[in-house]
Amino acid sequence: MLKIENLHATAGDKEILKGISLTVNSGEVHAIMGPNGSGKSTLAQIIAGHPGYVVTSGSVTYEGKDLLAMAAEERAQAGVFLAFQYPIEIPGVTNAYFFRSAYNEVRKANGMEELDPIEFLDFMDKKLKLVEMDEAMLHRSVNAGFSGGEKKRNEILQMAVLEPKLAILDETDSGLDIDALRVVAGGVNALRTRENATIVVTHYQRLLNYIVPDFVHVLAHGRIVKSGGKELAVELEARGYDWVMEAA
């Protein structure tokens, strides 16, 4: 589904990614771990099409297409979803309106009919249950005045609405208490199928107790320095990152 080859990227004058290669297949969950400043979030943002980075070499192929040649909205319409580390507030625009606009854009791009507001509210009913959110949430402005936990849940709710093929969760666990973590992870797990894939970017192993990865990669200084199975995450939790970085 996703194939990243020798990806180099800069922000301003600074090279942040220094040759990343990663293959993600349908049905897989990959965890990307690593210390602060290692380039984890940058990688997530580049896959989603953030305009703040320049790819200097390498390639990203998504379902056989050159992902880097696609505009951010085209990537979203093709099923790439990023759950933001810091979800953005849009005051005055209700969640319901925002979600429906997004959902309909994605449907339109895929040759499907748009849903009207009433059909959409019906559709939202099930989605809300998935993340244990109340309907009142739909009538609040997008992320405005939300607590940290609500914002993260709201991201997973959008993921549930858009049903992406490739979901990237960028530190979705940071700032979540244990109950919220359980709810968020439950939502993500419920959305897992054989057809879609998930990349979980995180500092901590904690989230991976709930969302169990097939592969764990350690990112340091812009490179993947170690890959392994889910047991690697446990080892990292116990021993920290230093030994991996020294070994690399």
Binding site: A76, F98, A102, L162
Partner: protein, 477 residues
């Protein structure tokens, strides 16, 4: 990154066309003779000419105000033409006598004046340059005793009302532009809603400037008698021309005891091009006087004009009266707006609300200027002001000038202000959910303006939202 924010600019102004009609246009210049000529063209009674002349003499003794945060080339008042009217219009004609070319012009603007096709639920007075082309649904309104007609017609048919209320809210001596308007005003709309009548439909005036090098100086007077209700809409457009044109209007609202007047404007005068060539200079005095238990509400969406100088205000004369001001002002490219309101609390327990949303894009400069004044006798009065600015890009500006004066110790005022910026992050967030940049901006901006849009009548709310999308289209990339 920020260069992409500047990149998407400017959909063509849709209403920039010129209508080819033969006009009776007077020579440029302004003297007492000009005032007399305008008055005689309208076949006015002597008392009105006298009033104009007093205004003119007063104006001559005044100087153009420069306290606003606006920069523009000096206006040569002697180079302006003060009257232009299509020759085919004869005073007081009926709608079926209107020149088809003029009807077509309004059709192009999306306003049908032919009685069969007009928008259901809205009566329209159409002002073309210096005269009214016609007013729709007059017969329907007269069943309720509602008078809605051009100002010229009102002078002839309802002189007692005009005499009583003309200048009663904005005296001719009020300010430089109001004095100028009082001397040379050519037409405008008049509305009177009798005691206890709720005007059953929206009333609206559509102002169109067509002639070149000609100013438009219209005057609107709306009187809601005791317990009456009226909702009035105003729309404005002008052709694209590369010289600046002057628009100096006066609007007076009177809400007698227990009455409500709701006045909404969607101002879309030609704003000039990207480099600030051409566009309307809009210097407008709008004010309402609210008597006991009455309410005056201004809602404005200002997207046009090269220069906007406008402060729709309410004098809260009667006890328990209410004044409201809801505003969205957008500047893009080289546009400048200095706009806001004055709420003058005179009566006891009077209440005012000010919600101002300023949006600046391109190199536009947007200033909110507001005065809240509580007089010694206005005990128990309250004001709430909220002033939000949104910046799009790095070259525009937002400025806030609030003045609050409280002369008693039982009044309350609240002022909240915020400035935000549409950033790449907000747009990226929307794009990541599948929305285009244009869609993202219109979504973010309409969210920002929601509190004001919900005050607009239905027909206008949609139009305003679309207009905003067009005005800002291309201002973010």
């Amino acid at each position: 990154m920020s260069s992409s924010i500047e990149s998407l600019v400017n959909k063509e102004y849709q209403y920039g066309f010129v209508t080819d009609v033969e006009s009776d246009t007077i020579a440029p210049g302004l003297t007492e003779d000009t005032v007399r000529l305008i008055s005689s063209k309208k076949d006015e009674p002597e008392w009105l000419l006298e009033w104009r002349l007093k205004a003119f003499r007063r104006w001559q003794a005044m100087t153009e105000p420069h306290w606003s945060n606006l920069k523009y080339e000096p206006i040569d008042y002697q180079a302006q033409r003060y009257y232009s009217a299509p020759k085919s219009i004869t005073p007081l004609q009926s709608l079926d006598q209107v020149d088809p070319e003029l009807l077509r012009a309004y059709d192009k603007l999306g306003i049908s004046l032919s009685e069969q096709k007009h928008l259901a639920g809205v009566a329209v007075d159409a002002i073309f340059d210096s005269v009214s082309v016609g007013t729709t649904m007059k017969a329907e309104l007269s069943k309720y005793g509602v008078v809605f007609c051009s100002f010229t017609e009102a002078v002839h048919n309802h002189p007692e009302l005009i005499k009583k209320y003309l200048g009663s809210v904005v005296p001719y001596s009020d300010n430089f532009f109001a004095a100028l308007n009082s001397a040379v005003f050519s037409d405008g709309s008049f509305c009177y809603v009798p005691k206890g009548v709720r005007c059953p439909i929206e009333l609206s005036t559509y102002f169109r400037i067509n002639a070149a090098n000609t100013g438009q100086f219209e005057r609107t007077l709306i009187v809601a008698d005791e317990g009456a209700y009226v909702s009035y809409l105003e729309g404005c457009t002008a052709p694209k021309r590369d010289t600046h044109q002057l628009h100096a209007a006066v609007v007076e609202l009177v809400a007698l005891d227990n009455a409500t007047v709701k006045y909404s404007t969607v101002q879309n005068w030609y704003a000039g091009d990207k480099d600030g060539v051409g566009g309307i200079y809009n210097f407008v005095t709008k004010r309402g006087k609210a008597h006991t238990n009455s309410k005056i509400s201004w809602t404005q969406v200002e997207t046009g004009s090269a220069i906007t100088w406008k402060y729709p205000s309410v004098i809260l004369q009667g006890d328990n009266s209410t004044g409201e001001f809801y505003s969205v002002a957008v500047v893009n490219n080289m546009q400048q707006a200095d706009t806001g309101t004055k709420m003058i609390h005179i009566g006891k327990n009077t209440k005012s609300t000010i919600i101002s949303k300023g949006i600046s894009a391109g190199k536009g400069q947007n200033s909110y200027r507001g005065r809240v004044k509580m007089l010694p006798k206005a005990s128990g009065s309250r004001n709430y002001t909220q002033c939000d600015s949104m910046l799009i890009g790095n070259q525009c500006g937002a400025h806030t000038f609030p003045y609050i004066e409280v002369a008693n110790n039982s009044s309350t005022t609240e002022h909240e202000a915020s400035t935000s910026k549409i950033g790449e992050d907000q747009i990226f967030y929307c794009k990541q959910r599948g929305l285009s940049a244009e869609h993202a901006i219109s979504l973010i901006v309409s969210g920002f303006c929601r509190e004001v849009f919900k005050e607009l009548p239905m027909e206008f709310a949609l139009e305003a939202q679309q207009l905003l999308g067009i005005t800002l289209e291309g201002s973010v990339g």
